[in-house]
Amino acid sequence: MIQMRAIHKSYWRGGTELPVIRGIDLDISAGEFVAIMGPSGSGKSTLMNIIGCLDLADRGEYRLNGERVSGAPFSRLAELRGQTIGFVFQSFNLITSRSALENVALPLLYQGVARDERMSLATQALQRVGMLDRASHQPNQLSGGQQQRVAIARALVNRPGLLIADEPTGALDSRNGDQVLQLFNDLHNEGHTLVMVTHDPLIGERADRLIMLHDGRVI
């Protein structure tokens, strides 16, 4: 599903180049659960952003489902994010002024799905993560674990092939974190491809494959 060849990425701070990813080759097949680990500053979040089409590599080739992502126009990247990829963030990133249901339905708006269908798909997604009884709650009325489950429902609502999670349990206590991880496990068992950035070795053990990054390289 994912093929990366010689991916490089640098940031520029005050005129000096800070290489973050220094030549990564990576293949992930459909249905895999891959954990990316490494100390902070190793480039794991940047790699994940590139995989998720939130950021672009400076050099190298990235193919998603065989399609060349590097060099694709911005509008195509937006389509990929909206149709093929579901994102889960460490800090949930729900829109605070909208209810859980509206947050989950929002990705469908950009796909031109009619309102009634949006609401019914969002309701299904909330049911899938066990949050249907909180559908009309605002994010600030929900616990961290509940917010993350709503965020996962939002990532699922477009039925993406690829789920990408950036430290999804990083902001949660262990009980809530376990629930969220269990949810990811179930999704993986249902056939979703899962790429998760974490620094928790216990989480890494649950994955099919562990990729260790150090200084922008796979070790």
């Binding site: 952003n49 939130l54 994102f87 963030f89 990705p107 708006l109 009619a114």
Partner: protein, 414 residues
């Protein structure tokens, strides 16, 4: 179809975002509203002012023109010096084929002396004018009672008179109908056959240009009688009506040249047309309006800058939301559209509020001053279109900024 739906739904998102910041939105709406109201009021005042001036000029008849001798050409020969250069024998010629742009024509005679005008022991200071049966039509005079002159009154030198409102009040008690009553001019008896409708020339009088006369203090007599009074065949000047406003200058020139040919250049003639006054009025009002519009546009500009400021703030505040929307599938056009829609909605709401406010203000001024303030349909449409354009102009830069973020950059900001 689906694409269109996305943009309709994004407009809804814009409405929700504005509603969530309603105080702030309201203040920006107010800024635009004041600007639009100012523009509206200026255009209403200028179109109302034009109506007002036109209404007064109409009391002369908008197609009216005057032809009279140019006394500056005075000749050493006394015969020529004293003459008005027009006499009643010329009228037949002038009413003929010489002057196709002239629709109708009346001689006007001013009495050489000021005879006493009285009814018993009531007196009038009215100005006497000798005219023919065409005059009231040309001069846009209407009668509140009685009848106008007929050719028979003129040719038969019948002692009949049309009197103005002021004359009627001066000579007859309020309760009395003046029609059929007598009045004496220089000892001679005349019968009142009609009363002329009141004419407002307040504005013209206030700027010192009411034509040197009080339109309501006139007595019109058959010109043949005034010639008799004056003891000669001369006509003071001609007042005529052109076939159209556009041909007024041409009509006046035709009369002028016909007279010059007839007298083989012994006299020079000059003309005045109301059409040329209309042009002057247009020019002056146009200048005033332009200045007003510039001033009002400044208010609108400030309102627009306010919207731009609010939108810039909104973009900074919601940058993370922008990142999230991009992460779940929004493309740059979607982001651009949503923020532009917010700016345009603010401006449009401001435009509508400003129009209503302007109407209210115009109506109030109208009631207070009696000055007609009429916003035109095109003025209203222009106001709405301008407010949409202000929204687009002030929203574009902030919206563009929002749309140009890479998703990862937007998500990284706090």
């Amino acid at each position: 179809m689906n694409r269109l739906r996305v943009f309709i739904e994004l407009t809804g998102e814009a409405v929700i975002a504005l509603w969530q910041n309603r105080l702030r939105s309201l203040l920006s709406v107010l800024g635009i509203a004041i600007g639009i109201a100012a523009v509206m009021t200026v255009s209403a005042v200028s179109s109302g002012g034009k109506q007002f001036v036109l209404k007064e000029l109409e009391t002369f008849g908008l197609r009216s023109l005057w032809v009279f001798r140019d006394y500056k050409d005075k000749d050493p020969q006394s015969r020529v010096r004293d003459s008005s250069g027009i006499d009643s024998r010329d009228l037949k010629l002038l009413k003929g084929a010489c002057c196709p742009a002239v629709k109708r024509l009346s001689p006007v005679l001013l009495a050489a002396n000021r005879p006493i005008v009285q009814n018993g022991n009531r007196y009038s200071s009215a100005q006497l004018k000798g005219v023919d049966a065409n005059y009231t039509g040309i001069n846009n005079d209407r009668l509140t009672m009685g009848r106008g002159f007929r050719p028979g009154d003129i040719n038969g030198r019948r002692p009949v008179a049309l009197i103005g409102e002021t004359v009627s009040q001066d000579l007859y008690p309020q309760s009395e109908n003046p029609i059929g009553r007598d009045l004496r001019i220089g000892g001679r008896r005349y019968q009142v056959i009609g009363v002329l409708e009141y004419k407002s020339r307040d504005l013209l009088a206030s700027i010192g240009s009411d034509g040197g006369e009080d339109a309501n203090n006139r007595i019109l007599l058959p010109y043949t009688l005034v010639q008799q009074m004056n003891g000669n065949q001369q006509v003071s000047y001609l007042q005529a009506e052109a076939v159209s406003i556009a041909r007024a200058e041409q009509a006046a020139d035709q009369l002028r040249l016909a007279l010059q040919r007839r007298y083989r250049g012994s006299y020079q003639y000059t003309k005045i047309t109301l059409a040329s006054y209309l042009k002057t009025v247009d020019r002056i009002l146009g200048g005033i309006t332009a200045m007003g519009v510039v001033a009002a546009s400044t208010a609108l500009l400030v309102g627009g800058i306010g919207v731009a400021g609010i939108m810039s703030t909104a973009v900074v505040e919601r940058i993370r939301e922008i990142g999230v929307r991009m992460a779940i599938g929004a493309n740059r056009r979607h982001i651009l559209f949503q923020f532009l829609a917010e700016a345009v909605l603010i401006s449009l709401a401001g435009g509508i509020a400003g129009l209503l406010f302007g109407l209210l203000l115009g109506g109030t001024l109208d009631l207070l001053t009696g000055f007609p303030l009429m916003p035109t349909l095109s003025g209203v449409l222009t106001g709405l279109i301008v407010s949409v354009l202000v929204g687009l102009a002030s929203g574009y830069y902030p919206a563009r900024r929002a749309a140009d973020f890479l998703p990862v950059e937007a998500l990284r900001r706090v």
